[in-house]
Symmetry: C2
Subunit: 295 residues, 2 copies
């Protein structure tokens, strides 16, 4: 299986659903415009694809959960819009375009993020979007996403990230930030698969472990790309972390050691999949892709 | 029945649940502090009380849905924090205290709002919080709240509100703002009752109509209080709407006519309850309270 082809195919499924979902015009138009501006800015849809691949690994047909998997991208996009705000990371460039607030102003950007987050839950609570998923499983998947996004998840990571700027990095704080800010939603993305499929605890545990390792590796690679990456490939300015003295893996461990850590995490992600045979090959290839990605 | 006593009792149920829910410390502490600062600032819990009263009208015991009703206050509080931000209404005072961003800074205020919104959905997706409510009913109630809060509801109202500042008010735009910004969540609060109880369509329709009229009346009275109210009673500066030339009922219709409109709306709210006998008396008294409130 060609993993790039798989990623593209699944990304297209997600994009098709999202475009269809936002097809009808809403009032006032500028809100929908601001939401679409960031949502359709060429994101790779890593989180939805992880959910689809995990669901497939459990034995399901990914086509059955595309709407629910797509909500992970709504939440990811909302978090990027809010993170980029002047009062937070104050970023001007994202995915090769001016950031949301640069185009629409701060107020609309904040509200576009709010609406994206809210829409994620509106979709995740619509049982009519799939005939395969029981209300209870849908409710549990929604709860998984909510818990990963909020006070003990992504938002906590972002708050700690802000509090830690310009401070000397320490192991514990760094781990806290990365597992919450990026890791939590990636882990929840993977877990959405077995939760929606109704897999047993052993499978859920194994995939959780996989998601945890891949999620943390993803952020460590992000830190590395902020130093070694190319602005044109990344679509955002490199060196941004250093500029505002973010707490990153390279700052604490150096580049070489950070790469080793990422490699070890991916090795552990593979190990977590040991109870699966070929049905988990897609997840294995996604783990390798996370390690070698350039953007 | 003494409506003030009823409101106090139900408010205490909501507050007890929310305090219990946030009892354990979360990391980083400042996030939880910022959330609690606005959540426990003496709000009247109008939305949760409406949900509890509507559930009771349908024949249920309000105690069974306190956690779910309480989420309406999380969403209301998040919306106040974001509305008060410098890039939006730029308010310094709320419920008699400095606004959230004045105390915690813009970044933490935005994130505290995000976490409150997310927590609402985490609670609404936890079927273990009530043994009486089926997963499907919970899912439908959650969806009701999400739809009322997002792109076609509260957020749309807030965006239109911002776009309409300093513009000449017109009937249609004013109605759009008020039914979305305040009306939508109040209507959803009332509808949560019959949805969780599993009432038939006739009852749901009647209560929706009640909620729509009460919701709009609530905002018209808000506009009036912004002119006639007393800062000490309201806990926020009066005259704020006029200062930033908000589109309000008094600006379009004048004070006298606005009061008449509010009275008519409450008359219609009463009419919507005509298929109920004494079991809807609480909702009737709440409608009257909305009309006569001073804060």
């Amino acid at each position: 299986m060609d993993i790039k082809k798989y990623l593209h195919e699944k990304r297209d499924l997600v994009d098709t659903f999202l475009k269809e979902y936002y097809r009808n015009p809403h009032t006032p138009p500028v809100l929908q415009e601001a939401m679409g501006y960031s949502l359709f800015a060429g994101g790779k849809r890593v989180r939805p694809v992880l959910a689809l691949a995990a669901y497939e690994t459990c034995g399901g047909d990914p086509a059955d959960i595309v709407p629910y998997a797509s909500t992970l991208e709504l939440i990811h996009t909302y978090s990027l819009i809010h993170d980029d705000l002047p009062s937070m990371d104050n970023d001007d460039l994202r995915r090769g375009k001016p950031t949301n607030h640069k185009v629409f102003g701060e107020a609309i950007a904040i509200l576009a993020g709010d609406a994206l987050l809210t829409d994620a839950f509106a979709i995740l609570s619509d049982p009519s979007l799939s005939s395969r998923i029981t209300p209870l499983r849908l409710l549990l998947a929604l709860r998984e996403v909510a818990l990963a996004s909020g006070l003990d998840g992504m938002v906590a990571g972002q708050v700690q990230d802000i509090l830690s700027e310009k401070k000397e990095p320490d192991r514990e704080t760094l781990h806290f930030i990365h597992t919450r800010k990026t890791g939590a939603l990636l882990r929840a993305s993977v877990r959405m698969g077995p939760i929606l499929f109704g897999s047993d605890q052993e499978i859920l545990d194994a995939l959780s472990m996989y998601g945890e390792h891949v999620g943390l590796a993803f952020q460590v690679i992000d830190d590395i790309l902020d130093i070694e990456g190319v602005t044109e490939e990344l679509g955002k300015m490199v060196g941004g972390d250093e500029k505002i003295k973010k707490m990153t893996y390279p700052r604490l461990y150096g580049l070489h050691k950070s790469k080793e850590i990422a490699e070890n995490l991916i090795t552990n992600a593979h190990a977590a999949l040991s109870l699966f045979s070929s049905e988990a090959d897609t997840l294995r290839k996604i783990a390798d892709y996370v390690l070698t990605r350039r953007s």
